[in-house]
Amino acid sequence: METTREVIRRFITTNFYVADPAQLGDDDSLLDSGVVDSTGVLELLVFLEQEFGIHVEDRDILPQNLDSIARLEAFIARARRSAA
C-alpha cells in the first residue's frame, strides 16, 4: 500500500507540472520551486479534503503546513491525531 508521502508525491507530480519529479525533494518548497502557485494552493486544499477527509482551517493555510511534501505529510499526521 502507498504511504501517505507517496500519495502526496503522486498527487503533486501528476496534478502540477514538475519537469523532473526525481529532482523534487521531500523538503523542497513547492512555491520556491515553482510547482505550486496561488490557485495551486487551493487545489492542495481540495486534495487534502477529498483524499484524507481533512478540512483545513483558513488560519492553517500556511507555508509551514503545506509548502513541501514532508510538511504536508506532517500536517496530515497532526490532523489525524487531533481527530482521533
Partner: protein, 517 residues
C-alpha cells in the same frame, strides 16, 4: 538631485536623501532602509555599466517578488537603461522571445530559475551579462556564462549612482503584454509616462509618507510594480510579499506591519470572501483598498468592508498602455457600483463610434485616452503602434485608442463593456487565446482548437479550450492539460478542456468563437 530633469528613480534617491534611516522595504524577514536600498541599487547599476550596459539598453529582470528583483529595477534605471521585469512563471521559449525581441543586454535572474535562463539565453546574440541572485552551483554558472550577483556587487561602491545620462522622454521600462494577435508586445513607457501616472495615482489615493503599502501582486505586473514606485516616491514603506498564495500569512504580516494600503485584484477578494474566518485579523490599520482589472461587484465590496472596516475602497480601471484610465472615488461606490469612475487626474477621456465621432451618454463606443501617461508605443511594432496611437486634438500629438468598448452616463462616469478583441482576463492578467491555441495545436493528436474565456467566480475569467482530435488519436483531457502545463505559464493553462467532434466555422472557414460562448 534637482537637475531639472525629473527621472523615475529620483523617487528612490530623493527619499534616501531625506529619510536615509527609515525602513523602505520589508520582505520575508529582511528590512532595508532607504539608504540600504539606494546603495544596493547604485552598486548594481555600476556592475551593469561595467559589463557593457549603456544608455537605453534593456535589462531583463526575471524573478519572484523579493529584494533582488526590487533592487534590480532601480539599478537598471540608475544605469540609464530600460527595465523589463518578466514574470517568474515564464517558460524558456517565451523568455527567449522576450530576450530576443527586446535585444536585452543584461539579465538579472533568481537562482531557482537558472534552468529556464540557461535554456532561454543559450546562443543569444545580444546578452552581455547574466547575473544570478541566490545559491547556484558553480558548474551551472559556468554552463550558462553567468556570474553570481553577490560577487558582481562585491567590488562596486554604492556611494553614488553612475553618471546620469537620460532625459525624461527616454524609456524607463518596457512592460510586455499579451494581445489577441499572439506575440507579446512591449509597451514602451518613458520616465515622464511613469512619473505622471505615479503622481496622479498617489494624488487621488492621498498617499503620505506614513503609508505602509502591501505588495502582494507580482512586480512583473505593472499594478504590482507601481506599488513600489509609489511607495518610494512618497518615502513610504513597501511590504513586499512573494504572492497571495497563503492569504492567512499575508494578512498576518499586513496586521503586524500596520499596512495602510491594500492593493488587490478581484481574484484576491474572491479568495478572502471564501475565508471568512480570516476576518478576525485586526486590519483596522488599512486606510485604503484598491482594485483593478475588473469591476468589484457587490459581493467583493461586502467582503472588503467586513475585512477592512476602516478602509476607503477605490475601484479602478486601466490598461498597461496608459497605466490607469479611471478611478471611482470611495464616496461613489454605493451610488455607482458598476462604474469604473472618472478620468484620473491629469488625463482626459472620451468615447468614439466606428467613424471616430464622439458619442454622447449611454452610447457604447471605443474609449480614447489623452494625457502624458499614454505610452510611447509598442517596442519595434510600428503597425500595432499606429493602430493604438492616433492623432489627437493638438497638432502632432497622439492619443490612445484603447480597443475597449465603454459608455459614459449623464454624469460623465465610465462603464466598461467589453474588449474589442477577445483577450481573456484571468486573475487580473491577460491571456491571449492565440498563445494557448498554439500550444495545444503543438500536441500530437490535436487537430484543431479554439480557446475562449468563460466567467469564473474566482479567476474573473477562466481559460476554456475546445479541442478536436485527429482521427484515431486517443488523447485524454488530463493529457492535454498536462501538455499545456509543460508549455505554458500556469495562468494560461486551460481550466476546462472539452473534446468536441468539430468547431463552428464561418463561411470562410474561420472558427466562430461567438458560437462557442
Amino acid at each position: 538631485m534637482n537637475t531639472g530633469i525629473p527621472l523615475l528613480h529620483d523617487g528612490l534617491s530623493d527619499s534616501a536623501r531625506r529619510l536615509p534611516d527609515k525602513v523602505a522595504l520589508v520582505c520575508r524577514g529582511t528590512r532595508l532602509t532607504y539608504r540600504e536600498v539606494d546603495r544596493r541599487a547604485n552598486a548594481l547599476a555600476h556592475a551593469l555599466v561595467g559589463r557593457g550596459v549603456e544608455r537605453g539598453d534593456r535589462v531583463v529582470i526575471f524573478g519572484d517578488n523579493g529584494v533582488d528583483v526590487a533592487v534590480a529595477f532601480w539599478a537598471a534605471l540608475k544605469a540609464n537603461a530600460v527595465a523589463v521585469v518578466v514574470s517568474p512563471q515564464t517558460h524558456a521559449d517565451k523568455l527567449r522571445y522576450l530576450l530576443e525581441d527586446s535585444r536585452a543586454r543584461a539579465l538579472v535572474a533568481d537562482a531557482r530559475l537558472a534552468g529556464v535562463v540557461e535554456e532561454a539565453a543559450r546562443g543569444s546574440a545580444h546578452l552581455r551579462c547574466i547575473l544570478v541572485a541566490g545559491d547556484v552551483a558553480e558548474n551551472r554558472l559556468e554552463g550558462m556564462g553567468a556570474e553570481r550577483l553577490a560577487s558582481a556587487l562585491a567590488s562596486e561602491s554604492g556611494d553614488e549612482p553612475p553618471r546620469r545620462r537620460c532625459i525624461d522622454i527616454d524609456l524607463a521600462a518596457i512592460v510586455y503584454t499579451s494581445g489577441s494577435t499572439g506575440d507579446p508586445k512591449g509597451v514602451m513607457l518613458t520616465h515622464r509616462n511613469m512619473i505622471t501616472a505615479a503622481t496622479s495615482i498617489t494624488t487621488y489615493l492621498e498617499n503620505v509618507e506614513d503609508d505602509v503599502i502591501l505588495g502582494a501582486l507580482p512586480l512583473a505586473f505593472d499594478y504590482g510594480l507601481y506599488q513600489m514606485i509609489m511607495a518610494f516616491k512618497m518615502g513610504a514603506r513597501l511590504v513586499l510579499e512573494r504572492s497571495f498564495a497563503y492569504p492567512a500569512e499575508v494578512l498576518s504580516v499586513a496586521a503586524q506591519e500596520g499596512v495602510t494600503g491594500f492593493p488587490g485584484v478581484p481574484t484576491m477578494f474572491a479568495v478572502l470572501g471564501e475565508m471568512q474566518s480570516l476576518a478576525s485579523y485586526d486590519l483596522s490599520c488599512v486606510r485604503y483598498v484598491t482594485n483593478t482589472a475588473a469591476a468589484l461587484g457587490a459581493k467583493h465590496i461586502t467582503t472588503i468592508r467586513e475585512m477592512f472596516p476602516r478602509a476607503r475602497v477605490y475601484s479602478m480601471y486601466g490598461l498597461t498602455e496608459c497605466k490607469r484610465c479611471t478611478y471611482l472615488a470611495p464616496e461613489d461606490l454605493d451610488r455607482k457600483p458598476d462604474s469604473v469612475g472618472v478620468a484620473i487626474p491629469n488625463t482626459e477621456l472620451w468615447i468614439v463610434d466606428d467613424e471616430d465621432r464622439r458619442v454622447g451618454p449611454g452610447v457604447v463606443g471605443q474609449l480614447v485616452i489623452r494625457g502624458a501617461t499614454v505610452m510611447r508605443g509598442y517596442w519595434e511594432k510600428p503597425e500595432a503602434t499606429a493602430r493604438k496611437l492616433r492623432p489627437g486634438p493638438l497638432p502632432g500629438e497622439v492619443v490612445l485608442y484603447t480597443g475597449d468598448l465603454c459608455k459614459l452616463d449623464e454624469d460623465g462616469y465610465l462603464y466598461f463593456v467589453a474588449r474589442m478583441d477577445d483577450v481573456i482576463k484571468s486573475r487580473g492578467e491577460k491571456v491571449a487565446p492565440k498563445e494557448v491555441e498554439s500550444a495545444i495545436l503543438a500536441i500530437d493528436g490535436v487537430k484543431e482548437t479554439a480557446v475562449i474565456g468563460v466567467p469564473d467566480e474566482l479567476l474573473g475569467q477562466a481559460v476554456k479550450a475546445f479541442v478536436v482530435l485527429q482521427r484515431g488519436a486517443t488523447l485524454s483531457v488530463h493529457q492535454i492539460v498536462h501538455e499545456c502545463q509543460a508549455r505554458l505559464e500556469a495562468l494560461m493553462v486551460p481550466k476546462y478542456v472539452e473534446i468536441v467532434s468539430d468547431l463552428p466555422k464561418t463561411t470562410t472557414g474561420k472558427i466562430k468563437k461567438t458560437d462557442l460562448r
